[in-house]
Symmetry: C2
Subunit: 403 residues, 2 copies
């Protein structure tokens, strides 16, 4: 087997031909490299005659950002491929199908989703996603429950946790989300107009305590196989379809981290509506869609997760201990609220931002939106250990937007 090397378009096409049941033998194929070149090569291979297509994704052995480059093991392709297979088996409608993986070449060949739109873009364009809360709550309930000690063999879970140790990508999260935004760090990235906010984050003792609590959960709690990076840029969506992609950060961690990632990105867009819905009426309406979606993500997730627990619970103790499910779900909501906040703060002052805020052209509007996102994030972090209902999370967002 040839050693790892980045594929050419011609090689990607040859590989695509070997996948059974997609293209006819000898079909005329086209190939476009659509990756951003920072982390992965992504070849989109199509057969114009039939409209059929597939994706060949290959991990690169480095990360490039802003001209910088640092090495990153391509083992993440193994993790992504294995996670996709598990998630697809648990939520087949919501995860692309994997046709083929090659560990040596760090390649995953999978279903073409080019009919879909990256959800972050859709939200910025004002698209309504009436199915999203239902779909993502199914994805979350299925993938978290059935990879946890609640829903699978507790012996197999330990072996699976062992195979998803993800040192490098977890470190990125630990650094960028649970450390750097709260101190001076060269990777921090914020506009001068909110320098006061960035400085305040560094001296807020109450905030530091709660970030330490969340960081410790992230480092130690092997509850379920997480997606690990479940923002709206990892979701392909249409109003009637949702597909979750790119689980290269997958590892065994605290469930609330995935749920919080979804809610954080809805609330970042909520803050961005200062610009994306310039009219007061339409802004109110779109924000109602967003808060209703936040409500739906949690309540539908919680209902589905409890039903799975009642019907498929594997643990002999958890299933009979009166009150344990309530206690568990309450703690999960608190974790979710805290991780939501942490994921919002870092998108404003940390290394990696979101277009929902950064693409706002008007300086004053962008500043207002960023301050709002920070206000929501900080409040969620500080209050996370006492939150008892998703309505409190929504109230925090509404209060910040009414200021």
């Amino acid at each position: 087997m040839p050693a790892y090397h980045p594929y050419s378009e011609a090689e990607a096409v040859e590989l695509a031909r070997t996948v059974e049941g997609v293209f006819a033998p000898g079909a005329e194929l086209e190939c476009t490299e659509i990756g951003d070149g920072n982390l992965n090569l992504v070849f989109h291979i199509t057969e114009p005659a039939t409209g059929k297509g597939l994706i060949v994704k290959q991990a690169l052995p480095y990360v490039k950002v802003f001209g910088e480059s640092w090495p990153l093991s391509v083992d993440r392709a193994r993790i992504e491929g294995e996670a996709l297979k598990i998630q697809h088996s648990l939520a087949p409608e919501l995860v692309p199908q994997v046709y083929f993986t090659d560990q040596e070449q760090a390649i995953t060949v999978m279903e073409d989703l080019s009919s879909h739109v990256i959800m972050r873009k859709g939200l910025m364009e004002g698209t309504l996603y009436p199915r999203f809360a239902s779909d993502i709550s199914t994805f979350l309930a299925q993938t978290l429950f059935f990879t946890s000690d609640l829903g699978m063999s507790q012996q197999e879970k330990k072996l699976r946790q062992q195979s998803f140790v993800n040192v490098e990508l977890c470190q990125i999260t630990e650094d960028l989300i649970f450390d750097e935004p709260y101190r001076e760090h060269e990777r921090n990235n914020y506009e001068d107009s909110i320098a006061d906010e960035a400085l305040a984050l560094r001296t807020d003792a109450a905030l530091h305590l709660e970030i330490a609590v969340l960081r410790e959960k992230f480092l130690t709690r092997g509850e379920a196989l997480l997606h690990g990076d479940l923002h709206t840029g990892s979701i392909f969506a249409l109003p009637d379809s949702t597909k979750v992609i790119d689980p290269e950060f997958a590892f065994y961690g605290p469930m609330g981290f995935d749920i919080g990632a979804v809610i954080a990105n809805l609330l970042l867009n909520f803050a961005g509506q200062e610009h994306w819905s310039p009219e007061a009426d339409s802004r109110k309406q779109y924000r109602e869609f967003l808060t209703e979606t936040v409500r739906g993500v949690w309540t539908q997730f919680a209902a589905k997760f409890r039903t799975l627990w009642d019907e498929h619970g594997k643990d002999p103790v958890f299933s009979v201990a009166e009150g344990f499910q309530d206690l568990y779900m309450n703690r999960l909501l608190q974790d979710t609220a805290g991780f939501t906040g942490a994921k919002m703060v870092r998108r404003v002052v940390g290394f990696a931002h979101v277009a929902d805020l950064d693409a706002i052209p008007d300086d004053a509007v962008r500043e207002r939106a960023k301050r709002m996102a920070l206000a929501i994030g900080k409040e969620l972090i500080k209050r996370h250990r006492t939150i008892a209902s998703i309505e409190e999370v929504i109230d925090i967002a509404l209060t910040a937007s009414a200021r």
Copy 2:
């Protein structure tokens, strides 16, 4: 290399000769197999001329108990050998030195501790161990701190956690401690005289809830490399020396489980003093030694752990977040109290008992001692989430003994 086979005494002696720096070449050696034959072969090899000796321990591929036999992977010898090396490096005076390991043959060759006495036996004989609280708190603080995200590289910790996945032995704990005592199970083992207590455990909803909480912690929290079975039968002691052995249950779990194991076994002996100190005066005195030791184990552990954190803390957030250390130590005390209780209950009604209670010859006295142990254990489990001081733990024991 020859495939795994149980060693003969002659083979053990040949192996012992190859260890450098213990025996002189051609020395006359004696060998006695001192294992109980249920889990391991333990060869004690000595040179009568010099008094020098060492231990050759080999894991057997099965467990034998009460005539039953079930298969058990000898991978536990790898785990035990690796854990011993790590623990010895962190607490050299308190852990036997490993001279040699052979993974294929599941063999660990280590320092001879035959001058020491199994601490459980010593406690039953009324030995005072004035150094014990100091020694074991050093062992706990050093091994837990420096294998956790607080005290070592968080990247290396993930790889170490991966290499200490211990499916089979964790399952034994999950079944015997966190499940079977609370329902009807064929492995449960209790005397007719306390059948009322055993039955009551099965219908106590408040107890089941807290056991579920503790079980979930055991299943998911990868805080530090635990010994995993730190009862007084895993400790060789003299009044002026303490050695911790047999870490074959080692895995990454919640720190409170190890601390709780020590305190539980002190309190099981405390209950057993109904017999072991027949005179009221000497009983009071020995119980004072035991409660003073419980107090010392926690307070000295906490002080040492905090000092290590202050002086060697590796985490950039934990070390500066005001109040986090207090919060962490308080939760650790609560975990400790809960695990203490769980480890006491199972020794009275579950599969594996302790001689501190079972070796009491008088039926009425033994019954009284067992009821006392259960009362302490249940109270600790039920109250563990609100306990705020080690004095509460001691009060629970004193109250049960005064009934």
